[in-house]
Symmetry: C2
Subunit: 164 residues, 2 copies
């Protein structure tokens, strides 16, 4: 597949899309805030990474009330495929929290997770957010520490959960 | 001061206000989502609890984009005084995060922090939020644990911070 034109990418993914370099020149991957997330595709992605399902109407509402939702798309002129996702909640000024960072297992290991996080952080910088928080499983601690995230030391600020 | 009438309280604090019992019958304290927070009063409260100041225009924006903001007011028919505060960010469906929980030092020790948190949690329950998170200083761990909050075990989900 030849490099897609910028006009085509803008029409599919919006002005603020970002092309992700990959080792495979035939594979074009695109990050976008603007392209709408298909809920069925998102559910398939979550299934693929092993997350438990949530009712679609609740997911729709959660996405709608998020500060930003980012999709990572395998480019196709007719039907781009969602292969990665992340979203943030927050006030967009003082606090932002990143949730639901996922890259499809078939596309892991090529640095896409890092590019996805870079893209999210760049947007939060543009908004001027003071600080960003996230919660992550222990097996990805190295992934976030390698990108400049500071693991919460138990003795400085403690994280709490509550199920209402 | 005699018990204020419910009509008066509704006009000052909105339908969803909650009166807080205190040991002092002359002191009426009221929790409210609906009464607008005066930014100067909020800054004075933050000064009193020893928090660093933020530019008011940023605080205004952060409050405007919060899921909910709660004030604790010392009731006065003419000029209620803000003596406590908390706010939440989140999507209002899956995730909510509590920030900036403060009770003025003069009003601490009477269980008001707990009543403030109860009021916040009750509203998050009404919204149907799946889970609530917060970050807290180590010296208040007991305060949250006593109310059913689960301290994040380092080995289950790790909390991260990032300054963009």
């Amino acid at each position: 597949m030849p490099d897609p034109s910028n006009n085509l990418l803008v029409s599919l993914y919006g002005e603020r899309h970002r092309l992700c370099p990959t080792p495979n020149p035939a594979l074009h991957l695109v990050l976008s805030f603007d392209r709408e997330i298909d809920l069925i595709e998102l559910e398939q992605l979550c299934d693929a990474v092993g997350w438990s399902r949530r009712p679609l109407r609740r997911v729709r509402k959660a996405l709608k009330h998020s500060l930003l939702c980012v999709g990572l798309w395998r480019h196709d002129t007719r039907l781009p495929k969602l292969v990665g996702f992340a979203r943030c909640t927050g006030d967009g000024v003082v606090e932002a929290t990143v949730w639901d960072v996922a890259v499809h297992p078939l596309y892991q290991g090529a640095g896409l997770g890092r590019q996805l996080m870079d893209y999210v952080i760049a947007e939060l910088q543009t908004l001027g957010v003071d600080r960003v928080s996230l919660f992550a499983d222990p097996h990805v601690v190295g992934f976030y520490e390698g990108q400049g995230w500071e693991l919460e030391p138990q003795l400085r600020r403690c994280a709490f959960w509550y199920s209402p």
